[in-house]
């Protein structure tokens, strides 16, 4: 069955026509009397119909596909994950206590530490937050850790990465699985290229250009507010940034994809970096 035939079926189904309304035997003859291919075509058409419903925006399934793929790239580039259950437990308890009061509390939030001695944090759509081992070792208090994690949480709740991805690129994730089942290799290749292009746009921003400064400043302010409402010291993030600035560490090892530390510090309120409880 050609791609065109599949699309005709898709249009018919998405227009609300029931498969049972067709004379299936006639349809079989018309499409070459190949029942397997017809069944596959009907499945494909149903799926494409579902894709069409999601065109209005990047939905949760597309976000998961993009987020998973961006997370793979982050892990691949920064030395893999630190497989330490105690560290995982700490970053996830602090991270999830913050995420519970973010603007997307019902996302599946996941936090981990990357095996890299650089000092940086990353996030990927669908709730993935990463900080490097170098940064984790620096943030000894939960207040400091919360400030850093809250900044990355803000990138996800504000959909900063998803806003880079075109709707068509994200939908290609879902469509590629549909086309894969149809067996149309040329169409599949086209969908995969489009999906990879979308992921590439995000990773180029994360690894090379960084978000625009005003996006980072906005994430800093949201992090400050989220830490405060959750009960962490609102000055936790500012404390980490100040400590980094005073450390004399080479700038290319510190938040290299973020605006200069002094600009970020200047825009945050000068508040206590730790809570009395700690």
């Amino acid at each position: 069955m050609s791609t065109r035939s599949i699309l005709v079926l898709a249009l018919a189904l998405s227009a609300g026509l029931s498969v049972r309304a067709f004379d299936l035997s006639g349809l079989t003859r018309a499409l070459g009397n190949n029942s397997d291919r017809i069944t596959k075509g009907i499945d494909t058409a149903k799926d494409i119909g579902k894709v069409a419903k999601g065109v209005a925006g990047i939905g949760p399934e597309e976000e998961k596909a993009i987020g998973d793929s961006v997370a793979l790239e982050i892990i691949g580039k920064y030395g893999g994950l630190v497989r330490d259950e105690e560290i995982m437990r700490r970053v996830n308890l602090v991270g999830r206590s913050l995420a519970a009061f973010s603007d997307r509390p019902d996302l599946t939030w996941r936090f981990a530490v990357l095996n890299s001695d650089t000092l940086n944090g990353f996030s990927a759509p669908a709730g993935y937050v990463f900080i490097t081992r170098g940064l984790y070792d620096l943030v000894s208090s939960d207040d400091a850790l919360a400030g850093v994690l809250a900044h990355e949480i803000a990138h996800i709740t504000e959909k900063h990465a998803l806003n880079i991805v075109a709707k068509g690129d994200a939908l290609a994730a879902a469509t590629s699985q549909v086309v894969k089942r149809s067996g149309d290799l040329r169409a599949l290749d086209s969908q995969l290229q489009q999906f990879d292009l979308g992921v590439g746009k995000v990773t180029k921003t994360l690894f090379e250009t960084g978000y625009p400064p005003k996006t980072e400043f906005s994430a800093d302010h949201l992090a400050h507010d989220l830490a405060r409402v959750t009960g962490y010291a609102p000055g936790g993030l500012r404390g980490v940034l100040s400590e980094l600035q005073d450390s004399g560490t080479s700038p290319d090892k510190i938040f290299s994809t973020h605006p200069p530390l002094k600009d970020r510090i200047r825009r945050l309120p000068d508040e206590p970096a730790t809570t009395a409880a700690q």
Partner: protein, 165 residues
């Protein structure tokens, strides 16, 4: 050309709007929105109080009273007390995607936390030769899924976070 003051201030206004949600200054007489799949309202301003009702996602509520971190709110179907961090100043948007399932419904099941990699990402890892990263990500998913919501709640209670402040 001289730029009008209103236009020069516009970026600052946009930044302010974008950064007011979690730190929203809720006041009595104002409005707020629920942001969870299900928001439980309580009979008293305390996490130990009995449930007084529940509200669905993105419901507008009127703030009747503010008491520290707690707000007494009234909605169409229920009223009661809620922790301020559980509400948003802006109405949240709910996305629907490929499968037509709303984000909230798809993520609040017990199995959602332990969901495997999406097939598209699994294929992506093969195309990009990211096999080791895929193993790490699968480990991360497993470890994160093993931390139950009850453990996060106990952590917040012990460390006086969220409603337990």
């Amino acid at each position: 050309m001289k730029i009008p003051t209103a236009l020069r201030l516009w970026p600052a206004v946009l930044l302010l709007v974008a950064t007011t949600s979690a730190g929203a200054a809720f006041t009595a007489g104002g409005a707020a929105y629920t942001k969870r799949y299900k928001t439980i309202l309580l009979a008293e301003p305390s996490p130990q109080a009995k449930p007084a009702g529940e509200l669905a996602f993105a419901q507008k509520v009127r703030i009747e009273q503010v008491q520290g971190n707690w707000l007494r709110v009234s909605g169409d179907s229920a009223d009661g007390w809620v922790f301020r961090g559980s509400l948003s100043e802006n109405k949240p948007a709910e996305g629907k995607g490929f499968d037509g399932i709303p984000l909230l419904a798809s993520n609040t099941t017990a199995t959602a936390a332990a969901r495997p990699l999406t097939p598209a990402a699994d294929d992506y890892s093969q195309r990009r030769n990211l096999g080791n990263a895929r193993d790490d990500l699968n480990w991360m998913i497993k470890e994160c899924g093993a931390i139950a919501p009850e453990e996060v709640e106990a952590f917040m209670q012990e460390h006086k976070k969220g409603e337990y402040q």
